[in-house]
Point group: D3
């Protein structure tokens, strides 16, 4: 276990991390974690409609804009380590060398936990592909025979963050995280997403409603913590505990 | 929340708690919890084959023997509060008054967590019925209009303990508990089950193998805690946390 | 098929219909349907915490208050036919005679569609029990030998309306209904629920977010209808159509 | 294990066994099994529409007709042991005494295998209830403390026979049985069902198509047995074998 | 939305569309749709056993025969737009350029709905791969940054047509389509499949039985439309409606 | 069907077959089968931690050691035909030519049954990939147009052998195989795995406990065969039988 606690977020497109786990990022930065955000693509082709509607737009300009937004959002969340892999989107495709770059990052950061997308997403195959790669690279990072001599990875949890339209994605949260105290940071990060203003309200609503679920599950009418904003996660692996 | 931490185990037959969560009981007693064990029946008809093979056996004698065994096992686990409801077994059937008795117990103990059987069990319908009743009584205990004036229940987790033949029961653990330090107590409790000696080895094997899963999930080849015995549980409700 | 179109909502407790399908009710009243709302209980014990916290409260007073709220909400939705069965709640229990009363109502109304709760609900067993009974009574109403001579029921769809915490209930919508034009009515109905003010915002948020899903599924960034509020439903039976 | 091989079919209504496992019954009679058919009800209210459309029909007349049909069908299948429990239908409801009658039958016949309906059926709750009871009674029959001194049941497979609209019932066959050589008997049994002539063709079609699945799974284009009629079954319990 | 309504069928092998959705094709042509059929391969290696059993057969001859059959079948269905991609079969493998060709077709046709195979098929991995590609290409066609300036795709439904052995494929229909009035066309198309005569009866049986399901679900014994032939479909995405 | 019975085991890494189906291999060799074991990789990078901890280790040395171990284990099981494909591990990646080599092996051996890994494995993506390839190659081997003139494959069952942590893999056994009489051989094979001594006890425990399940399912307390060691399997395809 590292002295410094770390976390690694694997985001298919450059904005995904903001909506889906911005609160978790800001909270853990505040708790002393070093959170690394890996953007596998910029979402330059498939998630930049507003930019493409402008005249004289080019792929490079879109990437530059998307990168700026993502960097600003990361800063709003007090996350200082954001990486851009530029593997392309719609479709996202990663060859063996690309996977080894992700393995290197996993080993460098030795994350206490990882996060990525839901296992199924018929609206966006890049999302489920990112998780497939995350699972595979986590496995390679655990292999003693991959770049022998390097420190191998332990067994960090992989949290699947909340997709858009959770039920269509066969996603079911088993964990709610209270993000009330970093809501302002998450909101600021969301507002960096100038191209997707139509989603700002959606994710504020969602955070409020997940807080209701937090209250309902943590004490209900009989008490419970006054959580105002929350995020939900699905754990891919079982937990190992010494006390319930 | 009580000053004293409490837990409530709902066991369809009088021996179920030993095999399925004896470690969790002993460990939490050691951690300062008051654990209450509710035996809905003695398993007198369906789980006492060895006794019935003796001559001149009667239902009352079987119940007496089963009760003694269960009390001895509870004592071996350092659990001092075991209740017998005697609702009958094969089939277990509980009417509204019976349910209200369970609700009373839930409210009296105000458990920090509850435990019961898997949701599906085609080998033993008493097991899944016990869980159905546990869920229903937990709900009634939360109702302000049930015996108004009494303290209502908060929202404790309901852990589903491991059934026999986990896969046939659609049971999937999301939590492993290290019970190494109370293994001797669990083993002693198991050995109180004179009528089911053929299962002693089975559950020792299982605890060793679940410990392997604990090690695999908590650090794998790269380290992790040296857990030697473990129990697995499936959480029925999501967790609400302030930090991952 | 009737000249007049009809629908039947089966609600475990007297307020459930408001949050879960108030929009569908108001919309279909506007479209010329006669919508009947059947409240199997008042939710008098389990869903009236605010009333029970008042002094000198009795079961009868709670029922009276809950009935008034439900009637006001139905009126806000322009629904003129609301029935109260008073079968009791926490737990809701219906004997054979009670089921026959529901069958009578189904046959009298000959609904073009029915609505009830999700199939699974570990938070509230009354909800899943209401659906179990709805399925059973729909079947009895189809039987030629039940009260021979009466008009038997055809095969109306049973829509499962959205539960609280959809993923925990294994509920997955296959249909979104645009309720924008009756949102004011639904909001007014919601505000009749004086005892549950803490949920008003929750369900407004939810309606806005389901509208996002409506837009996403009906045309996405490329167009689609400007739906502002929506409700989701899961169909229990397949549809039979003459054109896609 | 008995010298004589036996099987027990548990049929919610008196005609169910014909369509769903008539081939299996006739085949096993031919193979030397004694097959017992238990009809829990006559389907007198819910599955006798044609009779109820006649004038001056009464419940007793319907039962008499349905019984005659079922007896004729059993005879056509060369099954000589058919029992009628008359528990009522739509809904089928069985109390503890009724369950004990079924347990008695199970113990008397000591079946090598049992058959009943699918686990889920939103069109016909009697069907899934029959299976629920079959599982429970099989368990009671295994209990040494139920009527001590009687021979307890071993662990026979429970095959779930094919429902109408298999996919809606979450039914998936893991076994196809070649019934070509007894097709004439099954057809004759089907034609005893004068009240449901509209289904004759349906089940002939189905048997032909399941035979296609048999051929596909047993050798495909490369060979395989020339099966012309088949029935599908889903096993509730795993098999225990000494060779694959 | 186009003036002219359109539909796009994505068929892994050249004959798949006939058996699985020939009725839907013919019916929608009759209703004024322009239906485009995309055959990703000829099924030349894996689904042409009868041809390969002839002497001196070559891959090119097989493709030519299969193409003729498919063209004749399309004509029988009154479908005038059938495309052949020749990506190869057993296994079907499509690289990024191939996917872009499919995207081009999707954008050109702007379909009101799409159709493809079930999500799982352990008998034929080409089938599930075709659907995987269909979902991915639908997504790319929606991306503003893919060939900027082209008209992007809206959000058409993707219907999964009925596989062979539906239960083995985890396929569950939520929609039945009455194809009675185009049955003669579908039958004529089926009879173009000279190499698979052993399946003609199978799919006639299936259409009759799905019609039974149509009648059962649309009114049952109490009435309903006299549908004689039907096809079943599973919707991948939820519907968005303005009235139930 | 061959005169000689054959079986084909597809093992992602060179040791997998020992733990997961060593008993099935030894038993079927004893029964006169010719069992072929195909090791797709040596597990040289990901499953050889103990070797990599030695000084001056190289990839070739690891492969050599792993191959020796696997050959010794096969010999202990009396299996004389073990093939090594050396496709690489962590990740295992097989191109079209590699798949054709596997198809050749399937056609050469014409197996009566095949075995491979579970369909899902979030700990080890090589495992689920091996099964994906096994399903695909089985399909290609059935194609008359793949290497026309060769003998095509019939329709052998594909048994999924037991993974580590069965519930996490969505694996559910439908078949238990009694391996008591070859346990000594399996134990000897296990002890060839010098690098994984920490798993010896685990799999002995598992075999004992699966034997308990065998006894429970084959007769329970009332009798049943005295099975002492067993292996569990999940069948991918339904069985086709002539008698139950």
């Amino acid at each position: 276990m590292n002295e410094k606690k770390t976390a690694l977020i694997i985001s298919a497109h450059s904005a995904d991390f903001v909506w889906r786990c911005g609160g978790a990022i800001a909270l853990h930065q505040k708790l002393g974690y070093e959170v690394t955000i890996a953007c596998l693509s910029y979402g330059e082709r498939g998630e930049s409609a507003k930019l493409w509607k402008q005249e004289n737009m080019t792929l490079e300009k879109v990437k530059t804009e998307r990168r700026k937004e993502a960097e600003a959002a990361a800063q709003a969340l007090n996350a200082h380590d954001i990486r851009f892999f530029d593997f392309g989107d719609y479709p996202l495709e990663i060859n063996t060398d690309g996977k080894y770059q992700i393995v290197d990052l996993i080993r460098d950061t030795q994350p206490n936990f990882m996060m990525s997308h839901s296992k199924w997403d018929p609206y966006n195959t890049d999302h489920m592909y990112a998780t497939e790669v995350a699972i595979q690279c986590r496995m390679i990072a655990q292999a003693w025979g991959h770049n022998p001599g390097e420190k191998v990875l332990s067994a960090p949890q992989l949290y699947l963050f909340e997709p858009h339209q959770s039920e269509q994605m066969d996603w079911k949260p088993d964990l709610f995280l209270d993000i009330s105290e970093v809501w302002d940071e998450k909101k600021a990060a969301i507002e960096c997403m100038q191209g997707q203003e139509h989603l700002w309200k959606f994710y504020e609503n969602l955070a409020e409603n997940r807080a209701n679920h937090f209250r309902r599950n943590s004490g209900g009418q009989a008490g419970g913590k006054n959580c105002r904003y929350a995020e939900g996660f699905q754990s891919l692996y079982p937990r190992c505990v010494e006390s319930l």
